[in-house]
Symmetry: C2
Subunit: 541 residues, 2 copies
């Protein structure tokens, strides 16, 4: 399999040509019944409506050609089977397979990568057993009481995905169980949470693959101190999820350790033990398995070569059409579901850390745009906030709507003949159409230019299965885009420089606190910046 640069693919030139006059959504009859029906695809309970994108059959044919020329499905299959997809040819790089899909390949009789799936299965069995021991009262606190709260301590991929999923599925949590999350090195974050849980009945689930993440270790220290101050034994209250053999893989210091593997990147780890422990504790083991089932179903559906029938691939290609050919720099993720409040933040990491890259898999500078800026908030809230710019701003923002026909709690109220859930969905559909069609008006300030692209993902209800499917739809969309752009979506070298500089600055602050000479040149930007910001107690000279 040869990786080809995006801009040399023949379909690219033709798409660029086509983009000079993209489909006009504001023309009379542009959104006819046939188009709306035809531009709808389905996958694992979700319908994907994309008639409100600025594309037509000619565009889709070329996007199919693009997918074929770049060998996208082949690359996806190679990833699932364990090829070393996380690397840069000819340069030092992580050089690893990418196997988050293996975590949910457990339902398959012939898994794509049997070894990784067997490792995932082992951890899952250990989790099942641990949860059973909790349920049966075999694991209890020093007073013989059950644990009621799990606080996940982790940052980035060890926080955002699990947190987004927990909030999405909170409605299904077992009676008497709940979760909290500590991520930020901001001491106030930790203090606020430690103040508001019953320490004696809380398990702290510390998550770090390397076992060396600065924020997480610091927060773990704060947690250990708080437990000790309360006369509790930390070894009875702390769990860890970490790589085998890491400093955190230590049965003397943790009640139980679960393993994560170096072939699963943090931002793709929600379906590994990184998400499993807290989600299993709060929602129950079966619900976590349902999440895995939904994700697995999408992983399988993502293998189709026909772009019109492969929703994650289609989402990826529509995104590339908007990004590279129509020139849009951002994408708004707009879930019409309050439960999905933090899903955009998870996608921000998953997408921007994966595809915010500037070199190809051969180490050459890219000559095309890669990942866009991802942001978003739930509707209808956003309608009363930033939608003004979506409709009438000078920057066009492609939007991805996500909604459900039924609510989770099923408690609703009928006002003016419709339920709140109907109002929620009606608003979502209306926004997609309004952005596309626009509207003329004699008052220029009440004019809507239209032609603002969007699509809608809709399912019956936000269940654990649906959440797993939605997660995998986006994970696979993101991977497909990276393959197409010929970048390595699985490393994150861009976070290193900030870490190095922060370490230098911290050494200076430590020396300053002790009244000792520091490590920085007094004329260096770092030193002057620290001093000017008023962050040194005893600035020199």
């Amino acid at each position: 399999m040869e990786f080809r640069d995006f801009n040399v693919l023949p379909s690219c030139k033709q798409l660029a040509q086509l983009a000079r006059k993209p489909y006009d959504l504001t023309a009379p009859g542009a959104l006819g019944p046939e188009r709306i029906k035809q531009y709808t695809a389905s996958v694992c309970g979700f319908d994907f409506l994309y008639a409100t994108q600025r594309l037509d059959n000619r565009t889709l044919d070329l996007l199919q050609q693009l997918a074929d020329e770049a060998g996208l499905v082949e690359q996806f299959l190679a990833m699932k089977s364990g090829r070393t997809m996380n690397r840069i040819e000819g340069f030092a790089s992580e050089n690893r397979p990418v196997l988050h899909t293996a975590c949910r390949d457990i339902f398959s009789s012939a898994p794509c990568n049997p070894e990784a799936t067997s490792q995932a299965g082992e951890q899952l069995a250990r989790l099942k057993n641990f949860l059973l021991e909790l349920d049966q009262g075999k694991i209890v606190n020093h007073r013989g009481e059950s644990y009621t709260t799990m606080v996940q301590v982790g940052i980035g991929g060890s926080d955002l995905g699990p947190r987004a999923l927990y909030m999405a599925l909170k409605r299904y949590q077992s009676a008497g169980r709940s979760a909290r999350f500590i991520a930020n090195v901001d001491p106030d974050d930790t203090a606020e949470i430690l103040d508001n849980v019953d320490l004696s009945r809380t398990l702290f689930n510390v998550v770090s693959k390397s076992g060396t993440t600065l924020e997480t270790l610091t927060n773990e220290q704060m947690v250990r101190s708080a437990l000790e101050d309360a006369g509790l034994d930390p070894a009875r209250h702390l769990l860890s999820v970490t790589g085998a053999g890491s400093p955190m893989d230590d049965p003397r210091r943790y009640l139980r350790s679960f393993h994560m593997f170096d072939y699963i990147g943090g931002r793709y780890s929600a379906t590994s033990m990184v998400g499993g422990v807290t989600l299993g504790f709060t929602l129950g083991y079966d619900a976590f398995v349902e999440i895995l089932k939904g994700a697995h179903a999408v992983d399988v559906a993502a293998e189709k070569k026909d772009v019109r029938a492969n929703v994650p691939l289609l989402m990826a290609l529509v995104g590339i059409w908007n990004r590279n050919f129509l020139g849009h720099t951002t994408v708004a993720i707009l879930p019409y579901s309050q439960a999905l409040l933090r899903f955009p933040a998870h996608l921000q990491q998953c997408d921007m850390e994966s595809n915010g890259k500037s070199v190809t898999r051969k180490g050459q500078p890219v000559g095309w745009d890669t990942g866009p800026v991802i942001w978003g908030e739930p509707g209808t809230n956003g309608q009363h906030a930033f939608y003004q710019l979506l409709h009438q701003g000078t920057t066009v923002v492609p939007a991805e709507f996500i909604g459900f026909r039924q609510s989770q709690y099923g408690r609703d109220i009928d006002v003016d003949g419709t339920t709140s859930q109907q109002k929620l969905v009606a608003n979502m559909l209306a926004q997609s159409l309004a952005l596309a069609a626009g509207q003329e008006n004699d008052n220029p300030n009440r004019r809507f230019a239209g032609n603002r692209p969007s699509s809608v993902l809709i399912a019956d209800r936000l269940t654990p299965f649906a959440m797993g499917a939605l997660l995998a739809l986006y994970e696979n969309k993101i991977a497909y885009q990276g393959f197409c752009w010929n970048i390595n979506s699985f490393d994150q070298e861009g976070v290193q420089l900030g870490k190095v500089l922060a370490t230098l600055v911290l050494q200076e602050m430590a020396a300053d606190s002790m009244g000792k000479g520091g490590v920085l040149d007094k004329k260096s930007p770092e030193y002057t910046f620290l001093k000017t910001a008023g962050c040194l107690k005893n600035p020199q000279e």
Copy 2:
């Protein structure tokens, strides 16, 4: 005062010229001690460090000229004094003064607009009295118990600002008092909150200027039903903040009503009763007054003509330099403070709803870019999420860092010679420098191009006064940018079309639920979209 178009100002042409070769932050010595010190300004306890922007003294001189040519400070003073700044010349528009600054002009012996300030003072006195009655046990529930929780029911400006401020200042809340917020028409949002408060000791503060906001009225209905189901009298548990004479200004149905005025836009209303009631209840009256004092101090400091000394004006102009001359479409707001978690969401509304516009104040299409896309999450969390793209993506994102030298709780831990708070601030400063300076490397994947602009706002501690100041810094920044772009930052016509279409779609759904013929043409995009999305029970034809 004549409003002039942005692109005809002489300074604009010169700035465009200058932008062809902006200041190179990666050149040797580009971030010298003199520059860092010189490019720092201070206001009301905040230091603003902007040496890491791609500008120099020549740029600043031209930005000064731009401010003078556009009469920015004159426009700001006109706004504060009550001129009709919310209008479009020659077309139907809201035609109102813009007087959110009057809410905090109460500390001035000669307020800019005495009438509005006197109205604000009256409401404030009523709030003080109400809070006193609660404290003294004169207002209690039917069992004679005090109220412990306030749930604010509102959306958009009636939610985001008050919620962001409450979360920012939660640390200061009075013992036994807390707040929750219901915004979304999503019935699950309301259900989750109603499940988790003690209704008998909860006050519901329903906020809508018009008294007709769909989401808010629907949620109020759910709240009233829940209270009645619990055998409680809604009139004893509901407050309202609304315009005088609105349907919600009704003493029979509300325990107490506070007034908001049509010269204060929702997104600028956090310092009116819209924020005051909930913040006063939870933090205490004096803390709310401190917020007003901080905001007022900035309102006064924002009158300076010298752009180098007027921080909100300087922030506005630096933003315009990045947006219109360097061509950046988004701005990341990155608070290194977990308490400011929802401040970016508030700014998203305040900025994007104000400046996401396409016509001038004369109703002409703008020929220049207006408001950028605003987004952001707290650091250090973001470093482990989307910073990869900030450092190595193909799209440059100007960043605005916000941080504090001390934590709120004052509970911290020393690891490796520094506290968590020091780690937080060190990371923030290091990120700003890393984005600016970049770094060479033989491995192209470990190369940082640098020249990614940012600035830092830093204060001692996030107190009520500091929060008020920070709020006003951004409110005034946003207003200044709107003045400069010659747009009306105070209306929101762009939200109307979606509302109209949603109403049509809802009428169809209501008819469908009753098995009656609907209102929509069966061939219309709205009908087909609804049907294709599976949202009709009895689709016709």
